[in-house]
Symmetry: C2
Subunit: 141 residues, 2 copies
């Protein structure tokens, strides 16, 4: 599945309005976020730009944008999803102390995916790698 460009989406794909004002605001909020906001944080930021926006619309917009390949959803454990402006495949590290989440990219993941496919006998599609540990600020040594 190839990402759609913002223009393709704005143009509409045969039917709908596609990039509505609300979706645009939600996208901007995610792209402007330094970290990786939860839906609740996106909602808080979005309502400053568009006070009438509803929680449900934020969720629906995030889902839409995710399916369009414009944002990336990060899930870990049973906590709330976080959203990421980085849509290319990448890896995550999560601090078990403060919850900080950072992106990074491990060059060996493509060969890793092949190795994982061999071991599991699955046809590989994507690989998800998360390091859990202590972030630079929380590590004491």
């Amino acid at each position: 599945m190839r990402n759609q460009s913002e223009e393709q989406i704005r143009a509409g794909r045969g039917g709908g309005t596609a990039l509505t004002q609300q979706r645009k605001v939600v996208l901007e909020v995610v792209q402007a976020s330094a970290g990786h906001p939860t839906a609740a944080e996106v909602f808080e930021a979005a309502r400053k730009l568009l006070p009438k926006i509803s929680y449900a619309t934020v969720y629906n917009s995030l889902r839409y944008l995710k399916e369009a390949g414009l944002v990336h959803e990060i899930t870990f454990g049973n906590s709330a999803s976080r959203y990421d402006r980085e849509t290319e495949r990448h890896d995550h590290a999560i601090c078990k102390e403060c919850g900080e989440l950072v992106d990074f990219n491990l060059p060996e993941t493509s060969s890793l995916m092949l190795s994982a496919a061999e071991h599991s006998r699955f046809k590989p599609e994507s690989i998800h790698l998360t390091l859990v540990g202590l972030c630079p600020r929380c590590r004491t040594d």
Copy 2:
């Protein structure tokens, strides 16, 4: 955190009953499961052995057993946790077609953890690797 042996737990750790009848049944259900049951599936199986057991007790027992290192919890996406009798570190593959989840073990994960630590500047603690793709039965080629 070292896993406690079943005996250590049964002996009690200074205070409680530790491995109660309910917890024992929940543990047995997870260990007897071929696949990776959800809490709901554990509940269904457990009530066949212990008809009065409650949903909450299944959840509490699973949490207890997880903290004691006797079972492993697998979370992926926003779906329900699955439980795994395999408590040693290992990797997972999930079928995007039928949801099948299999365990495997990638020997390169320990060096991978070091590499991830360098890239993220985190102090590493554990690494979680999940392959998403098509299981042997769902792959068409």
